[in-house]
């Protein structure tokens, strides 16, 4: 079992599925010519390996996704890359009113087996290029939403997403592309809709996903030194939302902190906290706390960006506050 990057894991998933099914095609902006294959290098080499099946497109996200929906209706299995999640807003109507609606509205006569791959993340890119819409994708019936935090999950979940017969929004992360982890050499799949323990512990439950699952892991190490034993539930799939492990964990810890990257108000963390207090009311010794991003358009300045985004220290601070306070 070799250590590879999240980026490489994604590429392997794409390659394996393209080898497996000739109808899997990839298109997006600058995924062929630019820098040898993609703004973030996930598709490097694939255009050469699969002639005609990996194509650069015009800058028109509404068409990248809308044409993907139509192609999927027609039996192609497109994997559409949107350079960053920020640009999905240009295609929002195509995602919500078309990709997600077709199967149900047409009573199962039409299916849309497509994947929309796009990264969350930041990097001093300011307000229109540093956003997180996880809560919005997770609100939409008909969509499946995946957000892997490790190379292992990234490969297994992307392969499953490509084979899935529903439209899947696959949320990668700029800050995770370079991270490494063990990935089996052989083929494996990870089912959608199953959360995963990333750390076992007994004192407090962290419910999280994506980059914040990694930050939560860092916080757990710090807190371990302080005698606080954290359990981490990584949701992995945001819709359908599997809270079964979180509920199981809270039965034991009686305390939970929901950790998300995006804006707090009406974020996905709110759904998780609301559902957990509803289903675990008597197990809770403290209100469910939330760690989230500050509610401002992301500033460019280094200190302001740092202040706006949540990191391990925010997670640790929230956990400490919860463990100290009496209710």
């Amino acid at each position: 079992m070799a250590e590879i990057t999240y980026r490489e894991a994604l590429k392997r998933a794409l390659r394996e599925e393209m080898q497996r099914d000739p109808n899997v095609v990839i298109w997006g902006e600058d995924i062929v010519a630019y820098a040898g294959g993609g703004a973030y290098g996930v598709t490097v080499g694939l255009a050469k390996e699969f002639p005609g099946r990996v194509r650069d497109t015009p800058i028109a996200e509404e068409a990248i996704i809308g044409i993907g929906v139509g192609a999927a209706m027609g039996g192609v299995r497109p994997v559409c890359e949107i350079m960053t999640v920020n640009f999905t807003l240009v295609a929002w109507d195509q995602i919500v009113n078309h990709a997600a609606k077709q199967r149900h509205m047409f009573n199962g006569h039409i299916k849309v087996p497509m994947v929309i791959r796009t990264p969350n993340g930041h990097g001093r890119t300011a307000s229109t290029h540093s956003q997180n819409f996880d809560a919005w994708f997770a609100h939409i019936p008909g969509l499946k939403v995946v957000a892997p935090s490790t190379p292992y999950d990234a490969k297994g979940l992307l392969k499953t997403s490509i084979r899935d017969d529903d439209p899947v929004v696959f949320l990668e992360h700029l800050q995770l592309y370079g991270t490494k982890g063990e990935v089996p050499d052989g083929e494996y799949l990870i089912p959608l809709g199953e959360s995963d323990y990333k750390r076992r512990g007994k004192d407090v439950t962290l419910v999280t996903w994506g980059r914040m699952a990694v930050e939560s892991g860092k916080a757990a190490k710090t807190l371990e030194g302080e005698g606080i034993d954290v359990e981490i539930v990584d949701l992995r799939t945001l819709r359908p939302l599997d809270l079964s492990l979180a509920l199981e964990s809270i039965k034991k810890t009686n305390r939970a902190v929901v950790v998300e990257e995006g804006w707090r108000t009406a974020g996905l963390g709110a759904e998780i906290a609301a559902s957990l207090q509803e289903q675990a009311f008597n197990d809770l010794d403290a209100p469910i706390a939330r760690v989230a991003g500050l509610e401002v358009p992301m500033p460019y300045a280094k200190n302001l960006e740092r202040a706006t985004l949540p990191f391990a220290d925010d997670v640790a601070a929230a956990v400490r506050a919860m463990m100290q306070k009496q209710y």
Partner: protein, 343 residues
């Protein structure tokens, strides 16, 4: 075209006309609710187009879709049942009037977001190109649908990748109450110029003119010459939908267009050439009315969709633990109201 085929075109237009008038009655009787957009006046467009296509060519249209489904051969009873919101409808009552569908006949549905279906149509054309199956896609839209961003994104891309698609504007010169000159600054056909796309203007009140134009551009597409643009000039006799009092269009204009009625005009032409007789015309009228009577009867007797079907096909059934997810997604307060709804 032989006599039989010509008479058949006539019969299809009459079917649509009679079906739409009956739909209006059913709306008045509250059998139909929501938005009901009728096709009266535009019959020649759908009928002429479909007559020029192969059975496996793809069709994608907007919400004014009854005529398209009927022209494509979808059972009138299934269409009426859909307007009624019944199980026997083309989507089992889920889509209603605006979202008829008949995938077996390659009719990919009516869509209600203006311009929203254009990229989908280009995508279907990409699929035809991918599978090299020589299919052509017809994407119909209204004149008011040519000013929104997806029009540009879809046409531009279709030309760039030489997709086998026909973008057809059913130019009835109004977008709801907004007259053409209020929403557009240039003649419709000029809108294709920015894409260097082959374009023709077509008399949409003449079923044979529509048929011939489609033959020409479908041929181009099949031979790898890429997309085309058709400005099909037509007129709708009724308001935008049954909710439209139609106060904004002047009656003289409507009357004038009725003079060019596609059905009577075609009947006269057939009579001239002795390709149809008055007796046959009467017979067709009776036959069609019987078909529509049967359709209404079928719709009346078709049951409401079962409540426990509500969650069906939100997702493919194959999904791992969608049951679990479902139970989390599903609000507690309605558990009682739904028998045993599954996702």
């Amino acid at each position: 075209m032989d006599k039989e085929s010509l008479v058949n075109l006539y019969k299809q237009m009459v079917l649509i006309r009679v079906f739409e008038d009956r739909s209006a009655e059913m709306y008045a009787k509250a059998r139909i609710a929501g938005f009901l957009h009728l096709y009266n006046g535009q019959e020649a467009v759908a009928v002429g187009t479909v007559s020029a296509l192969n059975p496996d060519d793809d069709i994608v249209v907007n919400y004014r879709d009854h005529g398209w489904a009927l022209a494509r051969g979808t059972d009138a009873g299934a269409v009426m049942a859909e307007l009624f919101g019944r199980e026997g409808g083309t989507t089992g009552g889920r889509g209603g009037s605006m979202h008829l569908v008949d995938v077996d006949r390659h009719f990919w549905g009516g869509y209600a977001i203006v311009g929203g279906h254009l990229p989908l149509a280009s995508g279907l054309a990409y699929a035809a190109q991918h599978f090299k199956n020589k299919r052509v896609v017809v994407c119909s839209m209204g004149d008011g649908s040519t000013n929104i961003g997806t029009f540009h994104a879809a046409l531009n891309w279709a030309k760039l990748w030489d997709l086998p698609i026909i973008f057809m504007v059913e130019n009835n010169q109004y977008a709801m109450g907004t007259a053409y000159e209020v929403h557009s600054a240039v003649p419709m056909i000029q809108k294709a110029a920015g894409y260097d796309m082959y374009a023709e203007e077509v008399d949409g009140m003449d079923v044979l003119a529509v048929r011939e134009a489609i033959c020409r551009v479908a041929d181009r597409a099949r031979n790898g010459l890429g997309p085309s643009f058709l400005n099909v000039v037509t007129f709708r006799y009724r308001g935008h939908s049954m909710a439209d009092p139609d106060v904004q269009r002047n009656k003289a204009e409507i009357a004038e267009w009725r003079q060019r009625d596609p059905i009577t005009r075609f009947a006269d032409a057939l009579l001239d050439k002795n390709q149809i007789t008055e007796a046959e015309i009467d017979a067709i009228q009776k036959e069609v009315e019987a078909v529509v009577d049967k359709a209404v009867d079928f719709a009346e007797h078709s049951p409401e969709p079962p409540l426990d079907s509500l969650y069906r096909d939100v997702y493919a059934h194959s999904v791992s633990n969608m049951q679990v997810a479902g139970s989390l997604i599903r609000p507690a307060q309605v558990a009682g109201r739904l028998n045993n709804g599954q996702h």
